[in-house]
């Protein structure tokens, strides 16, 4: 048979399965676009030449590693989902007399079409959106005139390479699936019964215990160093607990409800409880994944925003005043010298259009206390008198003015003066935390897209089955309105559960986040709390919106 035949059949299949292939296409497009953009940032020369550009690029390189792992896992996940749904179709081909190798050819063509198109679309949108992303990045970093977005060949090749490998791997996986299965199995495979769950009570208890332990750990830990080293183990504990609780915990609660006859055999509860039980059993792992991904989004974004918005507070830990100049304390001369220095500073500042405000009380003992001691290092600060002031005005004027001032300062004794200033560190901090925020938001977007897609796939597969149930219940004598309501109630419960879980996790994690951020000198826990709360709220709104939209689109798609 001519190759054109398989090609046509493949095109036809992709079109027919667009309800499923569409989101798959979208997911891999987004993934490759993001990958391409990040790679372009990593390979960008003009960023490398920026001050602290190296820090940003190192951070993004780490991001690439995480992304690659994530992309592999995720694309395999949706691919598996797609293939399982289509097994019946493949069986039909077999029964209609297409040999396995013919089916294989069709599958390979389908994969080539979908993956090829999504890679091209990803690269194109990466190239276009990259400009926008770069613009935002530079704004957030608030530095670097002269940096520009540049598409680099290595980035292009590396993206094609990575996704090429992933696509080849999924194609092989699909081919293997078709190869291993016999038509009979395939036909029956779709409707396999659920196995009875064993050890429900101990496993639920175990899940609860692990979760409680992880939460307590997150709440009681006090030292930032320990918090950082315990963070990942704690995350893993929470993931295990989430899985256990979704898979067996919900089952346990619902089957308890089912045993209570007076409660269970009422119209409102009867259908809801058994429907929920059924849904949760089929979707437990998907829901657990949604919960975990959502938690990751909330935690990542709130950490990054906390660091970004808290960086002033961090800087202030080190710099109680913008500029501090210390003179060796030699009785009255020091006071005179300081007076002179202050006058000089004010005059030069006025010439540059800057305003200075004296920071009055800054005792030597304050400066030697824990946070500041690092700045003046080995100098015995009690030997010094300090002149401390804040600077206001055009930030571009500040650096030249400061250099000029320092060269003109009077000296006392042999050692001259020591000083510290906030400006260069602020720039560095913007580069670091701005880059971090940027990366965080990027990842959050990625996680979100994927969460949305999991939700979508869940909804689609559910609504297929729902239609059948809908009809049967009407036949048995439930009115349309009631049927719709119970089904919607079930769907709502099912999708609210992961959201509630994620919010609970995030709330329990926030003490640990506060402690961890102290390692970054962010002692203002209110900033962290506000960021967690803000992110949580934004996430709730987003999540509910997504559930509504996906539910609506997929029901309307299935009806026509």
């Amino acid at each position: 048979m001519a190759n054109g035949f398989y090609w046509k059949l493949a095109v036809h299949n992709v079109k027919n399965n667009r309800v499923m292939y569409g989101p798959y296409f979208f997911a891999s497009t987004v993934m490759s676009a993001v990958y391409f953009i990040i790679l372009n940032v990593v390979f960008n020369r003009s960023i490398a030449n920026m001050s602290y550009g190296a820090t940003i690029q190192a951070m993004f390189t780490l991001g690439i590693v995480v992304m690659t792992l994530f992309a592999i896992g995720y694309i395999f996940y949706i691919n598996g989902f797609l293939i399982r749904r289509r097994k019946k179709e493949f069986a039909l081909y077999g029964i209609l007399g297409l040999e396995k190798r013919h089916v294989l050819r069709i599958i390979i063509w389908e994969n080539v079409i979908v993956n090829g198109c999504s890679l091209i679309a990803g690269l194109l949108s990466g190239a276009v959106l990259g400009k926008l992303v770069m613009f935002c990045l530079l704004r957030v970093l608030s530095t670097a005139p002269g940096s520009y977005y540049q598409i680099s060949l290595p980035a292009l090749l590396l993206t094609c390479f990575t996704f090429g490998i992933i696509f080849i791997a999924t194609t092989c996986y699909n081919a293997l699936q078709v190869h291993l299965a016999r038509p009979v199995d395939l036909l029956h495979g779709a409707k396999k019964g659920e196995k009875k769950l064993r050890g429900v009570i101990p496993l639920s208890l175990l899940g609860l215990l692990i979760l409680a332990f992880a939460y307590i750990l997150a709440i009681v830990v006090e030292s930032p160093g320990i918090a950082i080293s315990l963070f990942w183990p704690d995350v893993i504990l929470v993931i295990i607990a989430t899985w256990l609780l979704f898979v067996v915990g919900c089952y346990f609660v619902l089957s308890r409800l089912q045993k209570n006859k007076k409660f269970y055999y009422r119209p409102e509860n009867f259908i809801t409880v058994s429907g929920l039980l059924h849904r949760l059993r089929r979707n437990a792992s998907g829901l657990a994944n949604i919960c975990i991904l959502s938690t990751m989004v909330i935690v990542t974004v709130s950490c990054c925003t906390a660091l970004f918005f808290g960086q002033e507070s961090i800087l202030r830990q080190w710099h109680p005043a913008d500029v501090i100049i210390g003179f060796v304390d030699q009785g009255e001369t020091a006071a005179q010298v300081m007076q002179q220095a202050w006058q000089l500073s004010e005059e030069t500042a006025a010439q540059s259009g800057l305003q200075l405000t004296l920071v009055e009380q800054l005792t030597p003992s304050e400066l030697t206390s824990t946070h500041y001691s690092g700045i003046f290092g080995e100098h015995q600060s009690s030997d010094y008198s300090y002149l401390a002031f804040n600077v206001q005005g055009n930030s571009e004027e500040i650096t030249p003015w400061l250099a000029n001032l320092l060269s003109q300062l009077p000296k006392t004794g042999s050692s001259g003066y020591i000083y510290s200033e906030i400006f260069s560190e602020r720039a560095e901090s913007y580069a670091l935390y701005g880059g971090l925020l940027f990366l965080g938001v990027f990842f959050a977007l990625l996680f979100l897209t994927n969460t949305v897609l999991i939700i979508y796939f869940r909804q689609v597969s559910e609504s297929y089955d729902d239609r059948r149930r809908f009809v049967i219940m009407q036949q048995v004598g439930m009115d349309d309105q009631a049927v719709k309501q119970t089904i919607q109630r079930q769907i709502r419960t099912v999708f609210l559960l992961p959201l509630l879980g994620a919010l609970l996790h995030a709330a329990a994690a926030s003490p640990m986040l506060i402690t961890m951020l102290e390692a970054f000198q962010l002692y203002n826990s209110w900033v962290t709390l506000a960021c967690v709360a803000g992110t949580g709220l934004a996430f709730i709104v987003f999540y509910l919106l997504v559930c509504k939209l996906t539910a609506r689109t997929c029901y309307s798609m299935l009806k026509c």
Binding site: K262, G275, V471, G477, M478
Partner: protein, 255 residues
């Protein structure tokens, strides 16, 4: 006493393309007496399912009316229809239509739960019915764990548990082998012997031979009816086969 009356039932479907109208039922009139076991027999596409759906109030006729126990379906408000259906009618379908989220027990109890029956009452009705249908040992299994015949018996139990005035069955043996078919039809006859009114739609003369009266339908029109009288089932079956081959050019299935 007349339990069910179909009055000038017409059902037309407008075609998807161009709106050419196709009439699936054309002025169907008949009556079913209380306690009768009526079969409607016809070839594929003759309008049997369409007719049954109208009798079941699952669909609305284009013209005409159905009257059950003196109550016209047209006079029942849309919102009350579901409750009416679940209190007066029981259904059995070709493809069982059990809910896979429920165990056999809960599938059977579903209509009672919707009627807000008391839990003790449910048990009282369930146990004898289940034992009569041979379902006692299967009550806690799920539909996909039991055979087709068992699923169909579950569907019968679900239809019968509310003691409906009328039991409607659409091709109930369509998916069963001959032994489970005979088993199911015996159950129907038994119910009928105890006074249950049944209307069953089928294309098979074998299934129809269990009834007490057979209506023949072709192209949406009732052709004739044949009463069984005191005849044994085998003889009635032979008569039905002869009648259907002469009436419908061999359109009906002997099996």
């Amino acid at each position: 006493m007349v339990l069910l009356q179909a009055v000038d039932l017409v059902k037309t479907y407008s075609g998807r393309l161009g709106g050419r109208r196709y009439s699936a039922l054309d002025k169907v009139n008949f009556q079913v007496e209380q306690g009768e076991f009526t079969a409607v027999m016809g070839a594929s596409g003759s309008g049997k399912t369409t007719l049954l759906n109208l009798l079941a109030s699952l669909d609305k006729p284009s013209q005409g009316d159905v009257i059950l126990n003196g109550q016209s379906f047209r006079s029942i408000d849309e919102r009350r229809l579901a409750a009416f259906r679940r209190q007066n009618l029981g259904f059995v379908f070709q493809d069982y239509n059990l809910l896979d989220t429920f165990t056999v027990r809960d599938n059977i109890l579903l209509p009672l739960v919707l009627n807000r029956a008391a839990v003790e009452d449910m048990e009282k009705r369930l146990i004898p019915l289940a034992s009569r249908l041979g379902l006692e040992s299967l009550l806690d299994k799920f539909p996909y764990e039991i055979s087709g015949g068992e699923q169909q018996r579950t569907a019968v139990a679900r239809a019968m548990i509310t003691n409906p005035k009328l039991l409607l069955a659409d091709e109930p043996t369509g998916a069963l082998d001959s032994r489970s078919s005979a088993n199911l039809l015996d159950i129907f006859s038994e119910f009928n012997a105890q006074g249950q009114t049944i209307v069953m739609v089928t294309h098979s003369a074998f299934a129809a031979s269990f009834s007490s009266r057979v209506l023949f339908i072709q192209d949406g029109r009732l052709l004739t009816e044949i009463y069984r009288g005191d005849e044994p089932r085998r003889a009635f079956f032979d008569r039905l086969v002869n009648a259907s081959s002469s009436l419908m050019d061999g359109g009906a299935n002997v099996g």
